[in-house]
Subunit: 511 residues, 2 copies
């Protein structure tokens, strides 16, 4: 049995395939010393749109360094079949000769024959060839794959079964392995994802069923819920089979990745469990989990919709608001509560000011204020609003939701369905249409506001910004910049770390 | 099949069985609405030494509140067999009548007959009785338990198999269940721990093998590596068996516990994996993992020693140092590096000053300083020291280790074995003998120091103290207080948030 560690290749989904040298060096040095047979360090790829880091392209420069750090290991890189045509193989692979030992091709079951065509050429170039078949939790006895699998016999050195959705059960896996073994004699492998915390059990089942190449990553770092942990596999094999493992070295590298995990937060959680149990793709879930304003709840609701094949379950009337000149947009920062008295004074002085609540977090501050109020309902804001206002007192205001269909589903606070509207579109921005700040800004544009004041967009202290927070900051700055073009005044009235065109003070208006 | 949620009972190991009311209320209300059959809310216990919170004693006051929040659920409390004698049952259980439905007895396999004696009386009082057999990963076909298990038939309503070490495999579990079924007809249950990420797979195996009561906790909160997650079991059963589950309610309560988890950090990690794979008790590991100065490495090393039955592997000569009057003790805080120049000046001015490095973190600052230096080697400090000094330059100084035998094992930096000594004892304190600060203070006492100055004990900003940090602060404050009695001067010379008798400034000495 061989162990393949693909921490950088699969973990790159979290870091955009950049890893600092002071992590890369100890990682590859440790791999060299652990009983890991194959190290898959990244992808090779033709140029793609958008930013992808060095382990996505794995340039020769990088391969040379890795080769030096792990001289005795089999080095592998991966190609995505769907992004790779036959005539590109020369330019992609010829420079790797002598540096990389093995090329693995990731392919969907229905496109298996394309992988075979690639494998033929790759093997001729002198590389070992692995074919990674994805989405195996959607396979069964009748899947067409098993009719064509034997074509791999002549061109591949291994076929690995990839539980991309993290949804396969040990019994289903046992069946799939035996179906494979019925038609091919190539060594099989297994790559497990951990949505249902079954990566380890599935791996043990795979080994029992005769799989010979086991994929794992340090701390389970990998797309979505992540993978089988290398340290778990090694610890288990050390205890049960006497596999020689240097736990000092293993412990040190695990500690390094645990630190990185604090920032990126891979590992399973309720949304990944739901996607795994229902074999739904992780890509959306991974985006949603990384956004702070989507609660666990709203993600699970969206997944339940996906499972039922519903994009959304409620079409609301389109918002066509009465116009007004002056608008305040209220964010979720603590400054609103801190300056509550001054804010109420500012708003009540001018009954024409319209209040748009981007977040319901500070809605209580405006209780009893007579100005017209809009509540933007994205993610969990509907439930938050319900918890601010008791059923008895009711909520006086209008709810605004993102355009239909809403990926995240529709939740309108109880009793408010008659006062709820959706945006026709988010016209001022091409991105982030379902962020609550985007909905608030679009509402201000529809109101044809001339002066827009922002309260409670406090931002975060720079030194302690997590990756999630940094993403949110970038996103809001982009939205502020795009929306500002539509207003003569666009100013923050409470202290802010965001890039907002003007920064004024609430207190200059109520002096 | 019945689902038993024991979040507060097993999760209490992390919170000393206190949970705030604003978590308890939504937790029990959510249990009432989820397809959970039994809620085990805590222990009942006679008075114990040390602090244990309200869910450890579960007073009638509390039981009444819980009964109101979850009126339709079977409520259970647990008794520890080893802490419970027959004549205490009246006082422990009579007050619970009408409030609690089920009593579960936790018992080691070798003491099973004691549980039977308790069960008889408990059943007569009108309660349902469950017996939880612990440490099942140490059972096999020849275990004496299987000769006596049938005695449970007349007195118990369920027997649950508890994988206390988190070390059982699905095959072993299948065997144990079938051995049980061979001798008893009582409904069986399973309680899985997640050290090897096999709690879910074992649970599915238990269900397949005919277990009828499945234990789980929200977010897996439970002793050591924790349990099967309730949300995972419910998600799986909802997807595969159509179990009706309110994901909104589930998502909300999971989010609450995920927040708590950020503070306490339950879940598996390399040390728990090692203890699980080798069926070692989690209690020590849980203590060690909660102490910041034990690295993953040193814990794994200690566990490897336990596995081999070694308490420690190296007896060193006892430290008998030359005496000196003036000592500085250097902690690991960043202030040492910030004031490096001034510190070197202070130390070099007086060649008689002895430097004791409680942590090796700041050792580099004292490179080339001619004063005598002691390095306290606890946890990972030995390796840290190695990484500060290259092999070529060597380390000039004396290493001091805690008294023999050292639970955490012995690691001496390479080439330093001739300069390494151990303390005979830590006499000034009855606690924390293997903390690096205790070793440093004891060394100062052995030196018969009169003036002791502390550098780099910065402490933490109060508002963001994690549980671990708070524990360390309490521990160090206790040590400072006890040790100070031995010195005329005991003063911090860099800014500190610790309670150190005197607070002076480094700069007053080098003006």
């Amino acid at each position: 049995m061989q162990i393949l560690d693909c921490t950088f290749r699969d973990g790159g989904y979290y870091t955009q395939w950049d890893f600092p040298d002071d992590l890369a060096k100890p990682y590859f040095e440790t791999m060299e010393r652990l009983p890991v047979d194959i190290v898959e360090l990244g992808y090779r790829s033709r140029p793609q749109k958008g930013y992808y880091g060095q382990y996505f392209y794995s340039p020769v420069l990088l391969l040379r360094k890795v080769r030096e750090l792990a001289p005795t290991k089999t080095l592998a890189v991966m190609l995505n079949e769907k992004d790779c045509s036959l005539n590109e193989l020369d330019s992609l692979l010829d420079p790797c000769r002598g540096l990389v030992d093995m090329i693995r091709i990731a392919v969907a079951p229905v496109r298996f024959s394309n992988a075979i065509a690639l494998a033929e050429i790759i093997r001729e170039k002198g590389f070992k060839v692995g074919i990674n078949i994805m989405y195996i939790s959607s396979l069964n006895e009748n899947s067409a794959l098993f009719d064509t699998l034997s074509k791999g016999d002549d061109v591949a050195d291994a076929i690995s079964l990839v539980d991309s959705y993290g949804g396969v059960s040990p019994e289903q896996l046992k069946l799939i392995v035996s179906l494979c073994k019925g038609v091919t004699s190539i060594p099989l492998g297994f790559h497990g994802h951990n949505n249902l915390e079954l990566a380890m059990a599935n791996t043990l089942t795979a080994i029992d069923s005769g799989c010979e190449i086991i994929d794992a990553t340090i701390t389970g770092m990998g797309r979505g819920a992540g993978n089988l942990r290398t340290e778990l596999l090694l610890t288990y094999l050390a205890a049960k089979n006497g596999l020689e493992t240097d736990f000092d070295k293993l412990g040190n590298i695990v500690a390094r990745f645990e630190k990185l995990k604090e920032d990126y937060g891979w590992g399973t959680n309720l949304p990944y469990m739901v996607s795994g149990a229902n074999s739904l793709p992780q890509k959306d879930v991974m985006d949603w989990v990384s956004k702070r304003y989507y609660s666990v709840n709203s993600i699970v609701r969206a997944l339940q919709n996906q499972k039922r094949g519903e994009k959304d379950n409620l079409k609301l009337p389109v918002l066509q608001p009465a116009l007004c000149e002056k608008v305040i947009i209220v964010g979720g920062g603590p400054s609103v509560n801190e300056h509550a008295e001054a804010i109420r004074l500012f708003v009540e002085k001018d009954p024409e000011i319209v209040v748009i609540h981007a977040s319901a977090k500070n809605a209580a501050v405006f209780k009893g204020v007579n100005n017209k109020q809009y509540y933007c309902i994205v993610g969990n804001e509907g439930q938050r609003l319900e918890s601010v206002f008791s059923a008895a007192e009711g909520i006086d205001g209008i709810c605004v939701l993102p355009p239909y269909p809403r990926k995240m589903g529709t939740f309108v606070p109880s009793g408010l369905i008659e006062q709820s509207f959706e945006l026709e579109d988010v016209s001022f921005s091409t991105k982030y249409a379902d962020s609550h700040t985007a909905v608030a800004l679009q509402t201000a544009i529809l109101l044809k506001a001339v002066e827009v004041f922002l309260l409670g967009y406090d931002g975060y202290p720079n030194q302690s910004l997590s990756v999630k927070e940094q993403d949110l900051v970038n996103e809001n700055n982009y939205l502020f910049n795009e929306a500002a073009k539509h207003f003569s005044t666009f100013a923050a009235l409470t202290a802010t770390r965001y890039e907002i065109r003007e920064q004024l003070s609430l207190y200059q208006y109520i002096i």
